[in-house]
């Protein structure tokens, strides 16, 4: 998978209340959630970002609540992937489960300015800075997680397995 876009840089400990504030959780409609994506971290984010853009976080991105509304709003806003130094664990599993590509990179954060363009190649495990062709590695993920992504998320993965079992 290739994600190419402009980087929106955020800091450490971007919590789920910053990604999608609780006051908007009275709905689970992806498009409605998308209009408030990152609102409490950067109120202009949705208005200024373009489809395909990339969110870059520091340590512990997505900490706080278990709300899947967070990755849902990011995906529905058109963000192609999220990269961070590290992710909070529920956000991490939610993203895989619902099919939002996320990648860990320790080095990228300090080597890049807000607004620069990058290309992520998940198969090659690399991130390339468009301006300088500088290449960074992304942390590899366990085979099971790769399977989840290939199947299009947890429910499709399960449905596939159940289907196979029933046919047996």
């Amino acid at each position: 998978m290739i994600c190419k876009g402009k980087v929106w840089k955020f800091g450490d400990n971007i919590d789920t209340d910053a990604i999608i504030p609780a006051r908007y959780l009275t709905t689970s409609d992806p498009q409605a959630l998308a209009t408030h994506c990152m609102e409490d971290a950067d109120p202009d984010f949705v208005a200024r970002m373009k489809a395909g853009d990339i969110i870059l976080g520091g340590e512990n991105f997505g900490c706080g609540s278990s709300r899947e509304h967070a990755p849902i709003s990011i995906k529905a806003a058109g963000v192609s992937c999220v990269i961070a130094k590290s992710f909070a664990r529920i956000f991490y599993r939610n993203s895989f489960n619902m099919g939002l590509p996320i990648f860990e990179s320790q080095e990228l954060f300090d080597a890049i300015q807000d607004g620069e363009e990058i290309e992520v190649d998940s198969t090659a495990g690399t991130i390339t800075l468009t301006s300088s062709n500088k290449v960074f590695k992304i942390n590899s993920i366990p085979p099971f997680m790769e399977e989840l992504i290939a199947d299009g998320g947890l429910m499709k993965h399960i449905a596939g397995k159940r289907g196979k079992n029933e046919k047996r």
């Binding site: 400990n13 006051r23 009275t26 512990n60 664990r89 489960n97």
Partner: protein
């Protein structure tokens, strides 16, 4: 090499003879929990995957506690979707209306979660049940959908950090202060992906209410779960509530830990977490003069009867300062009733408190106590992120019920010792 309590419970739910930290496992789930924010998505996913039947109608808990009593039309629709699912699948543990309480206070109180269980909940504070000696962790809505369908879930076995707490807790210092202090020491990602195991002589004497509020906030250090080895205090709590078998697990002497942290509880004073992170903690003597507009006593962290008793002790024959809105939220209907019987509600009303129905309400900035721009609240809740209780320019200070009550009276963040 022995195993930790967390590893043992996980192992018992997999059929594997050996597991090691970092391993991905498929585990059987004893209870799967959802609420009115997370269950609607789970229900949709369940249906979308062609789910016809839940794996076990007695092992699912659906609790409509966040935006209830229904805050607006949208939240009413969300609740309706969950209610219809609960009825269709004849879910045994479905709570709403006059039966509902804040989920993490309600499930232990009703004996729905028990020692030795593996509990997953689409709510980050599901880790609360670790206080009972269960493995309990927060997951997302898709996870909940998967668990409701199959009764299983993929998990990564966490390594454990051991916290050994010793020394007698000083007056007005509670489990809440202990956990705030710990998060202050290790940071909001200090236990990322790990289990926090609490032991030591102080813990062995710690009442269940304090254990619940400590396990509750394990997620605030990024942990997967918080856990206490069950003992006689646990047994006392569960024996009248349990309607099925449960099992006590304990860590082996030679179990391995990534870190062992010792804390002398006798040296602690009441703690306050300043905005905007739960790790931004200070001892109350270093809090300075922080004027407040609201004091909130409640939530899954500190809305239990023991918490209300402490608050009432301080508020008796006193009033909240005239510029402070004091809100008390008994976490469950049983706690509400008990507080009524003991005359606590009378004390709160005389102190000019608003008594809220059991609800998550203000804790997540949902309703029933939202903060305006520039306002400050002291709260017995667990998160003080930007905008957590309202306006992005409002502030939340986390503390114990004792500090929240004393602060309400003095109109600024204060120790009960000042009264």
């Amino acid at each position: 090499m022995g195993n930790t309590i967390t590893e043992k419970i996980l192992m018992a739910h997999t059929g594997l003879k050996k597991i090691t930290p970092g391993q991905l496992i498929n585990a059987k789930v004893d209870i799967a929990l959802g609420n009115d924010i997370t269950a609607p998505i789970a229900v949709k996913e369940f249906d979308k995957a062609g789910g016809k039947k839940v794996f076990n109608k007695n092992k699912i808990a659906l609790v409509l506690d966040h935006f209830t009593p229904n805050k607006d039309i949208n939240s009413a629709q969300q609740c309706k979707a969950v209610r219809e699912f609960a009825r269709k699948h004849k879910i045994t543990h479905f709570y709403e209306g006059g039966n509902v309480g804040v989920e993490h206070a309600l499930l232990p109180e009703k004996g729905i979660v028990l020692p030795g269980d593996l509990v997953i909940g689409a709510d980050s504070h599901t880790c609360t049940y670790g206080a009972l000696g269960a493995f309990a962790t927060g997951v997302g809505s898709t996870d909940l959908a998967a668990a409701m369908l199959t009764g299983e879930l993929w998990l990564k076995v966490p390594p454990s950090i051991k916290f050994i707490i010793y020394g007698k807790l000083p007056k007005w210092v509670s489990g809440k202060d202990l956990i705030l202090n710990i998060i202050g020491r290790i940071g909001v990602d200090g236990a990322l992906y790990q289990a926090m195991e609490f032991t030591g002589e102080t813990i062995r004497k710690l009442p269940m209410a304090d254990r619940f509020s400590m396990a509750n906030m394990a997620i605030e250090a990024g942990a997967k779960n918080g856990i206490f080895a069950p003992d006689t205090i646990t047994r006392e709590y569960v024996k009248t509530r349990a309607k099925r078998d449960y099992k006590f697990y304990a860590s082996d002497e030679d179990a391995s830990y990534t870190d062992i942290i010792e804390i002398n509880a006798a040296k602690l004073e009441p703690q306050v977490a300043f905005p905007h992170l739960p790790s931004n903690t200070k001892g109350i003597s270093k809090a300075g003069k922080v004027k407040i507009d609201q004091s909130l006593i409640g939530s899954c962290t500190n809305g239990r009867i023991e918490d209300l008793r402490i608050a009432a002790k301080i508020l008796k024959n006193r009033k909240a300062a005239s510029h402070v809105r004091l809100i008390v939220v008994p976490a469950t209907p049983d706690i509400y009733r008990q507080a009524m019987k003991e005359g606590l509600l009378e004390i709160f009303m005389k102190a000019d408190a608003v008594i809220s129905p059991p609800s998550c309400g203000a804790c997540l900035g949902g309703h029933l106590g939202i903060l305006a721009e520039g306002e400050r609240a002291v709260a017995t809740t667990n998160r003080n992120f930007v905008g957590r209780m309202g306006h992005t320019k409002s502030e939340v200070y986390l503390a114990s019920p004792a500090v929240a009550a004393a602060s309400a009276v003095l109109g600024r963040i204060a120790s009960p010792a000042e009264l």
